[in-house]
């Protein structure tokens, strides 16, 4: 009798330990900022892409990660999303550095480029209360292109503020809403912005 009691207690302990380990490790994995975009496709070394946001075709882990780290995204029928977590040299984006983001016209109804703190996945507080530029408000070059300067200090050109301290990793999210048929047919290999580090 005592033997069975010991076996039952042992089994309960194994189940409890495995349950808590499974729950904690899975939650950590789903919320880990370093692995949020693991299932995204690498387009060009800088930009990552997924057409599974909001999609019924998403795997369960893709759905869970999206829900936790950026809920209520639109399906690719309406919008597509690109993420840059590193610059054109493959170095992680850091908030103390200055970057020149240069892009061509994008054949779409609306686009926006937004900066998020990679750890909190929220806006970076700044004096301008600006965390993005969009296709209407961005100053254009003669050819319709555009340049944004990401930096912790004020800039003369279109400034997207990062932060001086602490030196945090950040990412840039390019949202392309209601893309034209031409753009849609070339996804994800559209002409994407370059992200060049100017100084650090």
């Amino acid at each position: 009798m005592l033997r069975y009691l010991i076996i039952a207690i042992g089994a309960a302990a194994v189940i409890a330990a495995s349950f808590f380990a499974g729950r904690t490790m899975t939650a950590n994995n789903l919320t880990d900022p370093g692995s949020v975009f693991d299932t995204f496709e690498d387009v060009d070394g800088t930009w990552l892409y997924s057409d599974k946001i909001g999609a019924s075709a998403a795997t369960r882990i893709e759905r869970a990660r999206t829900a936790i780290n950026g809920p209520l995204g639109l399906s690719s029928k309406e919008a597509v999303y690109f993420i840059a977590v590193q610059d054109s040299d493959g170095e992680p984006l850091r908030s103390q550095c200055t970057y020149r983001v240069e892009g061509p016209p994008i054949d779409t109804r609306w686009w926006s480029l937004t900066l998020y703190d990679r750890i909190t996945q929220h806006y970076v507080p700044n004096s301008q209360n600006r965390s993005s530029w969009n296709s209407v408000s961005i100053p254009r070059t003669d050819t319709g292109g555009w340049v944004i300067t990401v930096a912790p200090t004020p800039q003369e050109t279109a400034w997207l503020p990062s932060q001086q301290s602490p030196d945090q990793p950040f990412d840039l999210m390019l949202r392309v809403y209601n893309p034209s048929a031409t753009t849609r047919n070339t996804l994800p290999n559209i002409d994407l912005p370059t992200v060049e580090r100017v100084s650090c």
Binding site: I7, S75, Q121, Y123, V136
Partner: protein, 183 residues
């Protein structure tokens, strides 16, 4: 003796692996549902009830926004519960760029359309569950896969000067349970 110890060790390992695997799958499966419930409760707290519109009227970044919210997308939201019948959503589109989207309880965006896809600038949808009788109601039917979910109307603002127009557009949006004809 050694054989018996080995037997229990293997048993514990199998039990542990099975528990871990099942727990992991349940967490992954339930995570989007839990996130949706949290957002629904926040919308209901802001709107005052289920099946009621709630409007963001701030341009730019907001401290209490969801993770990775888009600051130039000014959102009206509704947490819906179709248990007691269909819900009607009606209003006007927004000229810059406008979309309406619906999310089921597992967070999938099962329906979305935009202003260019609609025939007119005014719209009327009836949101219902499969099997609910909506023949007496006007409006384009949308069938929700789950009784609860979230609706979002996105209006895109170039800058803060768009907000007066957007707020007027928000006031023209209605979200409410449908009234059966004759009642």
């Amino acid at each position: 003796m050694l054989k018996q110890v080995l037997f229990y060790a293997v048993g514990a390992l199998v039990l542990s692996a099975a528990t871990f695997f099942i727990t992991r799958n349940v967490v992954i499966q339930q995570a989007p549902i839990k996130v949706m419930s949290t957002i629904e409760n926040r919308i209901v707290a802001g709107a005052g009830d289920w099946n009621t519109c709630f409007h963001n009227q701030t341009y730019g970044p907001r401290k209490n926004a969801a993770r990775r919210a888009n600051p130039d997308s000014i959102i009206s939201s509704m947490a819906y519960d179709l248990s007691n019948g269909p819900v009607r959503i009606a209003g006007e589109t927004w000229p810059r760029y406008w979309s309406i989207s619906f999310y089921q309880q597992n967070s999938d965006n099962y329906f979305v359309t935009n202003d260019l896809e609609l025939e007119r600038s005014s719209f009327e949808f009836v949101l219902a569950l499969d099997g609910q009788d909506i023949s007496a109601f006007e409006g384009v039917p949308i069938i929700s896969p789950t009784p609860k979910g979230i609706m979002l109307v996105r209006r895109f603002a170039a800058n803060a000067s768009d907000m007066d127009g957007i707020i007027a557009n928000q006031q023209a949006l209605t979200c409410a349970p449908v009234d059966p004809v004759g009642t």
